[in-house]
């Protein structure tokens, strides 16, 4: 293949910028992973290879407790956000464009645009009132808050897929006596499945990762893994949090890989 003079790869400095970006992105992560196998008590001093902090984290009741809570919230929030996002995507794509549609896109994507800290403070105020009125102080508040900011992440892949889908397939289903629900159930949803799974996974990871809103909304004893790790910083920190972070990294990488293979099998 003829390599153009204007090919980006032949521009001066291309190699340097690439390397710099690559290291800037991955050096800290590499350091984190390496130091999670540190045998020492200190975060920064290397004292031989050991998996002791993984064991310690695994056996730490507080970590277990926070991890389970994180998973429960993430699963519920991703599940609810995916349903809401699918409905929103259907409503915004299976319609003829009308005035106000752009406004609806903005409304759905609002959590991406409003600074998280603003939402966090707002939720703190609202939820504290509700807590007083209802007396309920369970995980529901965290699930609701997480669902809200997960919706745009689930919405994006689902809407993209719906927009590229051939409308005549749904028309053909209707022509063959399918009601609107049957059309959705037997044609739209099966074709939408990869995007729905992608939306769910994205929402799941986003929920698992959240600190700011969780920190403001949680009641006492409702630490998630990220807020637990944040709390640890105030005390004496050990490579235990490196180990937890490494597990986090492994988990999200695994999700992306699994999704990649699911999608490839479809095509």
């Amino acid at each position: 293949m003829f390599k153009s003079h204007f090919d980006i790869r032949s521009q001066p400095g291309f190699g340097f910028i690439t390397l710099f970006t690559f290291f800037a992105l991955y050096l800290p992560i590499a350091a984190l992973v390496i130091y999670s196998f540190n045998g020492a008590e200190s975060l920064s001093r290397w004292d031989g290879f050991s998996a002791r902090w993984f064991v310690a984290a695994w056996q730490n009741a507080a970590v277990q407790d926070a991890a389970i809570r994180s998973l429960i919230i993430a699963i519920w929030a991703a599940f609810l956000a995916t349903i809401a996002a699918t409905m929103a995507a259907l409503a915004t794509t299976r319609t003829t464009p009308y005035r106000g549609l752009t406004f609806k896109y903005a409304l759905i994507n609002q959590p991406l645009m409003v600074p998280e800290i603003v939402t966090a403070v707002a939720l703190l105020i609202v939820f504290s009132r509700i807590k007083v009125w209802t007396g309920y102080s369970g995980l529901g508040y965290l699930v609701v808050a997480h669902t809200a900011f997960c919706i745009p992440f689930a919405y994006l892949p689902i809407r993209a897929r719906l927009e590229s889908m051939d409308l005549t397939l749904e028309r053909a289903a209707a022509d063959l006596y399918a009601t609107r629900w049957q059309t959705f159930r037997h044609v739209t949803l099966p074709l939408l499945r990869p995007a729905v799974i992608a939306g769910f996974m994205l929402a799941f990871v986003i929920s698992l990762d959240d600190v700011v809103i969780t920190e403001f909304v949680k009641s006492g004893g409702q630490d998630t893994l990220p807020t637990y790790m944040l709390g640890q910083l105030r005390r004496e920190t050990t490579p235990e949090i490196n180990a937890i972070a490494t597990v986090f990294l492994a988990l999200s990488t695994a999700l992306v890989v699994v999704f990649f293979f699911i999608n490839r099998k479809k095509q």
Partner: protein, 366 residues
């Protein structure tokens, strides 16, 4: 309605009464009234944008008429949803469900109607036989060739035994040879199933080959409805004559009218008989149509109906086209079937006479 839908012994009759359709400021259909008979192969023929597909979609229920009624066997179905109409469609791009197998595609309609598994299986088997795809039921549709996908689309639409089958330019994506064999296939299926077929195409040859009757459309209106013979040999107006096949238009003056025949005088002075679709009066100026294959080239003589000079001779294998400049300056085309002798016997720039077969001229409505 469920009963008649599945045990339909005859195709349904479609009535379209005073149909108008506006898309914003654009009028796609302008006051169309059509009656499509039970069991017939009916074709909506016209150039793209003439409103034929819009009419088809209104029968299917994908579009609602702005004004007017769609009747099925005399019952108004204008406001029914597509899934409530015993009418199925073969789409231009087939629209097969890519996540289902051949058999699941064909059985989709019956499944949606809640038919028992055993009935679906037996109908699907019959359909696979009908379209010559035995043994392919388990294949994913994405692995089929264009022609096979076409046949799955047909089988899928026929499986629920609709009263009317709508076909939206279903052959346009196939190559010429496959298209020819599918034309015969469609005609056979229509005769065997007794279902009314409504076929949309812009291909006049396709329409002439398969149809019992044709409606020629232009700019949202129906210009003429009739058998292929009517449309070809008795075109009512210039658009129809021009759109279907090759045609010679000649200016003429009406000399006499008697019964359903008129005598017209051509610019050459010759008088010939002509048929006409509407009232004509002696002395009136009219345009007459003569098909190229109804004229013969010969030596010029006083008896020739028309005279002119050959401008071009085009050899087309089965026949030869002579483009002749008449004395009044208009061009006239004659199509003559070729013998095996090799030469047509005439050469370019030769002065010739043109004779006409009996009763071949048709007067056009203004």
């Amino acid at each position: 309605m469920t009963e008649t839908r599945t045990t339909a012994a005859h195709g349904g009759a479609i009535g379209m009464h005073g149909i108008k359709k506006w898309f914003g400021n654009f009028q796609a259909v302008d006051d169309v009234t059509l009656d499509i008979r039970s069991n017939e192969f009916f074709t909506l023929l016209g150039p793209s944008g003439c409103g034929k597909t819009t009419l088809l979609r209104m029968i299917a229920g994908f579009e609602l008429p702005t004004e007017g009624q769609v009747l099925l066997d005399g019952v108004d179905i204008s406001s029914l949803l597509p899934n409530q109409r015993p009418v199925n469609t073969v789409f231009q791009n087939y629209a097969l469900f890519p996540h289902l197998t051949v058999a699941e595609n064909i059985g989709f309609g019956l499944k949606m109607l809640g038919k028992p598994r055993s009935e679906i299986d037996s109908v699907v088997n019959d359909m696979l036989k009908l379209v010559h795809l035995e043994g392919r039921g388990g294949n994913p549709v994405t692995q089929l060739s264009g022609g096979q996908q076409q046949r799955v689309a047909l089988a899928r639409a026929l499986a629920p035994r609709p009263k009317v089958l709508l076909l939206d330019e279903p052959l346009s994506a196939l190559d010429l040879k496959l298209r020819k064999s599918m034309q015969m296939e469609l005609k056979r299926l229509q005769t065997e199933t007794g279902i009314t077929f409504v076929f949309v195409t812009h291909d006049q040859e396709e329409a002439l080959t398969m149809s019992d009757r044709i409606a020629v459309m232009s700019t949202g209106t129906v210009r003429q409805v009739g058998s292929p013979w009517d449309i070809y040999d008795r075109p009512a107006e210039r658009f129809v004559a021009d759109f279907i096949g090759e045609t010679n238009f000649l200016e003429a003056e009406v000399v006499a009218v008697s019964g359903d025949r008129a005598r017209v005088r051509l610019s050459s002075g010759a008088e010939i008989p002509a048929t006409f679709p509407a009232d004509v009066t002696p002395g009136g100026k009219v345009t007459v149509v003569i098909r190229p294959e109804h004229a013969q080239v010969g030596a010029p003589s006083p008896a020739s109906v028309l005279r002119g000079i050959i401008r071009e001779i085009v050899y087309l294998g089965t026949d030869t086209h002579f483009h002749i400049r008449l004395e009044d300056g208009t061009t006239f085309t004659v199509r003559q079937q070729n013998a095996r002798s090799g030469s047509c016997g005439f050469s370019k720039d030769e002065a010739v006479g043109i004779n006409l077969s009996d009763d071949v001229a048709q007067i056009l409505r203004d």
